[in-house]
């Protein structure tokens, strides 16, 4: 039976996420600064109240046996929306943490590595960082120049290159480095290598990159000069297969985007109402102040995006893992595209103090800007969807 409304039980669970979000929101301005690792390598910002928080996604999972509860992916997406609504600081906090899971490096080891490799490197690891992007190419993996050459004499791979935009490296004990491997039967094949931080003198971490938004998010470049690792460190599974499982997580980036979008709309709505400007949906165009018209247009965009999100999440719940690569991707394209316009558009409704630091909305705009870029830039992802719709191969449409 077609129903596009969250149930009251859904709202109860999401309400707990919202309660936590309100507490995190208060810390948001404090998180809006680049970490200084000369002071401390402990990158976990302390939110004391967090120790008392129930694990909301576990609540959502436990509720799945109840009669009128939306599927776990739908609920997770709404919980993640609350996180970004709060500009909740995002950093890897272990597998199963109650938040949008940035442990994708762990998942890569699971997907492309052996049981032994997973046990040795991932199962108990404090953190694993993943180096794929390079200064010369992010969306274009064929531009990768980091190389791994097999040294027959020492039976080691020798890795040279530079990776950039690496997340959470300072909390990591291991970095997965993607390099073009030549040797041992491989001929210039993009391959993941596990590199332990300790005992890799040629691997140097750069300073924190100062950024427009998500400033607290650990982001650095890493350079590799003659870093030597044994073949046991090479992940030997199909990289293509491993990477394809991450398509389904892409939809949750859409949820992240809509959380910021909702924050923007909520902030703007409150401000309009506080100033005595009525948002009247029955009013004709000439009765509608321009500010209200703009606001309603942004609400239209938000609603169409939200429906795209829950459709992707509903499908995910009824589709085998890895089978549906298109709708999660479409969801990210739509939602991450929408948040750009919604944050900008809402800010336009405010006066000269719109971008002052006392307005959470300015942080929301800066923090959310990455969303249409990382995990597949919207433009590149559109080509991917276009090939599906039009039935073209990559060589035909690129």
């Amino acid at each position: 039976m077609l129903n596009l409304e969250l149930s009251s039980r859904d709202e109860e669970i999401i309400g707990e996420a919202h309660r936590q979000a309100l507490i995190f929101r208060a810390y948001a301005p404090g998180f809006d600064r680049t970490q200084d690792h000369t002071i401390s390598t402990d990158v976990i910002f302390n939110v004391p109240e967090e120790k008392t928080f129930p694990h909301v996604r576990n609540m959502a999972r436990a509720a799945q046996h109840e009669p009128d509860v939306s599927n776990f992916d739908i609920l997770s997406s709404q919980i993640y929306m609350q996180e970004s609504w709060a500009a909740k600081v995002c950093y890897f906090r272990g597998m199963g943490a109650d938040m949008l899971d940035y442990g994708i490096a762990h998942k890569l080891v699971r997907a492309a590595g052996s049981e032994e490799q997973y046990s040795a490197w991932a199962a108990n690891a404090k953190g694993i960082a993943w180096g794929m992007t390079e200064p010369g190419g992010g969306s274009d993996p064929s531009a990768m120049s980091t190389a791994a050459r097999y040294d027959e004499a020492t039976k080691e791979w020798v890795i040279n290159g530079e990776k950039t935009f690496i997340s959470f490296a300072n909390a990591a004990s291991t970095v997965i480095v993607m390099a073009r491997a030549s040797g041992l039967g491989l001929n210039d094949v993009v391959t993941p290598f596990l590199v332990a931080r300790s005992g890799a003198p040629g691997m140097t971490f750069g300073p924190q990159m100062e950024k427009l938004g998500l400033r607290q998010w650990d982001t650095i470049s890493i350079s590799l000069v003659d870093v030597r690792v044994p073949d046991e460190n090479r992940l030997k599974g199909s990289l293509k297969t491993a990477l394809s499982t991450f398509n389904s997580t892409r939809g949750f980036i859409g949820a992240q985007a809509l959380g910021y979008a909702k924050a923007a709309l909520d902030t703007a709505r409150d401000a309009l109402v506080k100033q005595g400007i009525k948002i009247d949906y029955t009013a004709s165009l000439s009765e509608r102040p321009a500010a209200v018209d703009r606001f309603i247009k942004l609400e239209e965009l938000y609603e169409s995006s939200w429906l795209t999100l829950i459709n992707a999440m509903w499908r995910k719940g009824s589709t085998p893992v890895g089978q549906d690569v298109y709708y999660p991707t479409l969801c990210k394209i739509v939602c991450a595209g929408a948040v750009r316009r919604i944050t900008r558009g809402c800010l336009d409704l405010f006066g000269q103090d719109a971008t002052s630091k006392s307005n959470f909305l300015e942080q929301a705009m800066r923090d959310s800007r990455i969303l249409d870029i990382y995990e597949g830039a919207g433009d590149v992802l559109r080509l991917y969807i276009a090939r599906w719709i039009l039935g073209f191969k990559k060589s035909e449409l690129n």
Binding site: E5, S284, K297, E303, S304, I385, R387
Partner: protein, 370 residues
């Protein structure tokens, strides 16, 4: 819980509507949507309207008594979208009496329901329409209408001009939105009442086969029992909400026609020796057309469900669905036409008619229902 899965009634009705759209509406669409100032265009025939009527949508509402309709607004939306995919005029032909019958069924007094609904239960097509719009800017809305009623002994006198009522000449009744002083009222007026004159159909850019006419009301006398709901009054905003939801469904159908057509077109068409669809600028927008035509449909469904369930924010969702549909359908058909180059302008292809129909549909506001 959230689900996009249809129940049996929803699935079967959509399927039946689609079959009708493919087999009888599409083949006639060129004649239906031709521009009227050329001799070869044709209005919808009675035979054709009877075939549309045989799906039973309006009848399913008219046969239910006591306010709760057999046919949900979601089911209506599914039908209107599929009919519109066939041709917009077919959707309008059903959506006009749908608006009237829904209003009587849901908001009419017991006497009004008993008197009026039976004539809409037959297999044959029976037209009626809400008459709300007046000449002038759409930006003015219902609150600035001039048609008015004044109280007289035993009833009211109605005076005014309503603009471009769909299938007006076929209507047995109009539900006229008029002001009584500062208040808005809905008055049931049989078409044959002295003083009601239906002018010749005015040609509109699109949907000309829907034969939209101005209807003049000059000193039309009606009884006090002509007010929708009688002494209980009625919720006029709810009529607008229903119309907005219907327009969203119809614009979705037209958008999907254009989108599906252009996907096939750009796969075949070559420009400079290269298949048009392999150009990034073209391919990227097609992705947005796909995403936006899907989500506009869901917005209409959400509004339909909210109206059915008495949701507190039904008006908001209906208005958002309508606003989004107008913008989305507008840019989709415009962009699709662009990709066809000169062929986009030629009546030989359906795109120019979808372009015209979309614009006229966008002006409807309170003319139809769901």
């Amino acid at each position: 819980m959230i689900s996009f899965e249809f129940n049996d009634v929803q699935a079967m009705t959509q399927s039946a509507a689609r079959k009708m759209a493919e087999s009888i509406i599409r083949p006639l669409s060129k004649a239906q949507s031709a521009f009227r100032d050329v001799a070869y265009s044709k209005p919808l025939s009675s035979d054709f309207l009877n075939q549309l009527s045989s799906l039973g949508l309006v009848q399913s509402i008219a046969t239910h008594d006591g306010g709760e309709s057999a046919s949900s607004r979601l089911v209506s939306s599914l039908v209107l979208e599929q009919f519109a995919w066939g041709d917009a005029n077919s959707a309008l032909a059903i959506a006009a009496p749908l608006g009237f019958v829904r209003a009587i069924s849901e908001q009419g007094s017991a006497r009004q329901r008993a008197e009026l609904l039976p004539s809409f239960t037959a297999d044959a097509y029976q037209a009626a329409a809400i008459a709300a719009a007046e000449p002038g800017l759409i930006s003015s809305g219902l609150k600035s209408i001039k048609t008015e009623i004044t109280r007289i002994d035993g009833g009211y006198v109605l005076n005014g001009r309503k603009a471009l009522v769909p299938v007006a000449a076929r209507c047995s009744h109009f539900l006229v939105i008029a002001r009584e002083g500062a208040e808005l009222r809905a008055i049931i007026v049989p078409a044959r009442t002295p003083g009601v004159s239906i002018e010749p159909a005015r040609y509109t850019m699109g949907c000309a086969s829907s034969e939209m006419s101005d209807v003049l009301f000059k000193d039309v006398r009606v009884g006090s029992d002509a007010l929708l709901g009688e002494e209980k009054g009625c919720d006029i905003q709810r009529l607008a909400d229903g119309s907005w939801t219907a327009i969203c469904a119809i614009l979705t159908g037209v958008s999907k026609s254009a989108y599906e057509f252009i996907v096939e077109y750009v796969k075949e068409r070559k420009v400079g020796g290269v298949v048009l669809g392999t150009k990034q600028a073209v391919a990227m927008k097609i992705v947005d057309m796909f995403a936006d035509s899907e989500s506009m449909r869901w917005m209409g469904w959400r509004a339909a469900n909210q109206l059915d369930s008495g949701g507190a924010e039904a008006t908001k969702y209906a208005r958002l669905a309508y606003g989004r549909a107008v913008d989305t359908a507008g840019w989709i058909v415009d962009e699709c036409l662009q990709y066809m180059g000169g062929h986009g302008l030629m009546a030989e292809y359906p795109m120019e008619s979808w372009f015209r129909n979309t614009k006229t549909l966008s002006t409807l506001e309170t003319a139809i229902g769901v």
